[in-house]
Symmetry: D2
């Protein structure tokens, strides 16, 4: 099987072009803008444990289970994002999305990393941007509770504040989490601080081609956390039509967290560069 060949035109700007489809004369029609991409978001996160054997089945051969096998997390987040130009912030219909994702702990040559087996977003540009970086984003409906500063229609960021998130996929309630705050903590939840290792996969289409399939680590900078509130948590996977996903249901639920978070995502680095 031949590997995918790429065409590198001698004059790259001859003809329509763009970072992604659609290609167009100016390059300005591309659905996705090139990185870096800036993100600022509000997060509801729950630590939990999965069956370590189930988690291991989601790791490609190059990766080993993390230092604490079965360590996992479920994350609801509401994001704003923009490209380097910030242009997207001028159109509120384009710069916001909501996300739910699962993380499991893993290692590569002793380095602690996180693997995202499943993620859902409610907006198409983040979905496609996910696939570019190897993050397996699908479409879902994601809602979460916001803290309020005035009035009674929501929790305060304070002890007793109760936050929740829900995910629906194809009209099925797939995941629910709640976090009831009891105090502030000093350090971010561990799985939110280790690098993510993704499989950049683009399937074959011409029969003789092999798919693009490469392990990459995301390079992020400008990480910022707000105050981090923690508390007791609950997490349920519910009407899950996919047996593989069902394997990642919680066997134990840990602490929950509510915080704001920002990062800038630049590009990927081949996992094997860590060998150097």
């Amino acid at each position: 099987m031949r590997s995918i060949e790429t065409t590198t035109p001698a004059t790259p700007m001859a003809g329509p072009h763009g970072y992604t489809l659609p290609l167009s004369p100016s390059g300005g029609s591309a659905m996705v803008t090139p990185p870096p991409w800036h993100f600022s978001g509000d997060v509801i996160m729950v630590d939990y444990r999965v069956d370590p054997a189930a988690a291991a089945r989601f790791l490609p051969p190059e990766l080993e289970p993390g230092p604490d096998p079965g360590e996992a997390a479920a994350i609801f987040a509401e994001w704003q994002w923009c490209s380097e130009s910030g242009a997207e912030l001028a159109d509120p219909a384009r710069c916001r999305f909501a996300e739910f994702l699962i993380l499991i702990s893993c290692r590569y040559r002793g380095r602690h990393l996180a693997r995202c087996p499943y993620a859902w977003v409610d907006s198409p540009v983040p979905l496609m941007r996910g696939w570019i970086q190897g993050m397996p984003k699908q479409f879902g409906t994601v809602h979460q509770i916001r803290p309020v500063a005035v009035g009674r229609a929501g929790p305060r960021l304070a002890g007793g504040g109760r936050f929740g998130g829900v995910l629906s996929v194809d009209g099925r309630r797939t995941a629910e989490a709640t976090v009831t705050l009891d105090g502030r903590i000093d350090r971010p939840p561990p799985l939110h601080t280790v690098p993510l290792v993704h499989t950049r996969l683009f399937p074959s289409w011409v029969p003789s081609e092999a798919p693009l399939n490469r392990l990459v680590v995301s390079e992020v900078t400008d990480i910022e956390f707000s105050d981090i509130w923690a508390g007791s948590a609950d997490l349920r996977l519910l009407d899950v039509p996919d047996a593989d996903l069902a394997g990642l249901a919680p066997v134990e639920v840990g602490r929950g967290y509510v915080f704001s978070y920002a990062e800038t995502l630049h590009h990927g680095r081949p996992l094997t560069d860590d060998d150097r």
Copy 2:
């Protein structure tokens, strides 16, 4: 023409019941819960002026133009809401909605009030709740920029912060506003503090009936404002298919505001009770 007759069963709980449809044996299927309703929201508001004659055509005969004829406002808001029990806050898919509305200034026997000629929400329960109170809510897609506390993907609540809101109706971009903050102010924007006077209208269906048609003033308590930021503003009505709405386009745009706001909405009072 007879007026609408109401049936007041001697034993009200005989048969299915509920505050609204659907009626059911326990009353628990009602789409809308009875008031009071609590609201906490984030607001982007723009003061503007319309042609005073156009505004006057939106006022029922009982109401006169406000002290400053042509005074109007456009308001984007993201809400959380709950009933007295707070039950809705347990389901993030149900307790949030976004809204865009227009206010025009009016008076009744010398009292300053505001009239809402148009409003759009992105969620069906708030739409129906609007009609119960006489607020002419329709369905639209509403997005607005949120302030961020960390990172670069959004404005800070600080001088120079640029906020925007957009409304689409039936897939047409209908309204856009931006506010660029320059400082905090001490008092809320005037049109956000006067009571709203609505027409509670329920159309006829049986041929001999007259529609229900009554002017009511909304009774709210527990009003709370966060810090109020103000700045320069822009507002545009764009692809408007409705000639009446087009009559309320800005002839001048004033200041803009960004703040959080809360209230509890209890019930309505007949406008004419103010005669007492």
Copy 3:
């Protein structure tokens, strides 16, 4: 308690007006156009039986169980609709909607009628139009399989053709039905041919008011059926958060039907007019 008073202005066109909110100078902003309303739709219907005692609890005191207590039906439909002018057909974004509803059999003074305890639509104008006529429409996501005339991506309207419909409410898969055709039949399914009796309910808002609450029978003309295909059927109520709705789950599933249907809906008639 006073009944709701209506204001019948001496000069009805003084001030903003309209069949419904929003009122506007020309009347042209009204969200809902006045009847008659024409409907043409594609229907997947399943006859089923509920616990007769549960069905009886959904009937107001004026109505008795139907001749065959426990007789019920579940109906998926994709509609096009328009007002008398046909104007809505010029905007495909406005003239289509999908619906799921439940019917139970009932009687009034010996006359066979049907009662709709629950209905969901995916579009706001049909929702509001439902409440005007007393039909308890809520918001849901409704999908159904279409017959195909070419290719392999769907069933033919022929023996063996398998059709399905699904309803999701607030992101929960609430109902599913399938029908596998075995042949054509000569008469429409019985519950699709009897008049509907609804409760036109508009809740109180001013504390001293009683709600509008009146039993009305819908007046339709120009009923048209296409060929009617019938077959074996399945029906499930699934992730139902509402205990009252759960009471209408099938205890037995009967035949299923696939057909096109049209009607014109004119107005309502008080149920008690049948006494004459």
Copy 4:
């Protein structure tokens, strides 16, 4: 610059796998199923002409303008689709989508082909499937009028029948078309019968990589047309935020068509294989 390297594991099933992301132990979590994919749809199509120079700017250097430069078409379609197993037809929430696309005429070494510079779909799986085959699908809201067999809420497939389609992108009404039928024709519209040539583009992510960028021709079989109705047509590009897309606005509008269509899409063939 190195071209993208692919990893072809010696034991392909070691570790999580799948045709696309998400990879999972059984392979069953993949968002997109492998081809072939069957499609059955209802089409509203309008022939039109663009500025030939504008069209040429959308063609990669390997392609020349078609035999009639400036020949273009706009297509609205409502699809059902399924994989080889047909499994998707069991879930009506997954097997339907709506699409709008533009085609322009082109040639490769004398062979007549069509190029799709822009396409929009309302569902994420078709979007991603588009990118796999090189079709530049983005997210849009697409609605079209359906023919009716009964009643008055829609056109008949007959002379005088008036059909329309609308596209909204990010809440902006971007395209509208109408077709008024005058009779049946014997042959399909030319641009609906020539093969599509796409650019399979997957952007770079690791800095040293070149993007995947390859011209491929889609291989389809089992093409089926229903009766084809034709008539006069209108087409407008409206609130278009993208200057490149605006370059493809109609300079002349030709005939319109309404028909059903089916095909099976198998895989791609490198464009240069046509050299053989």
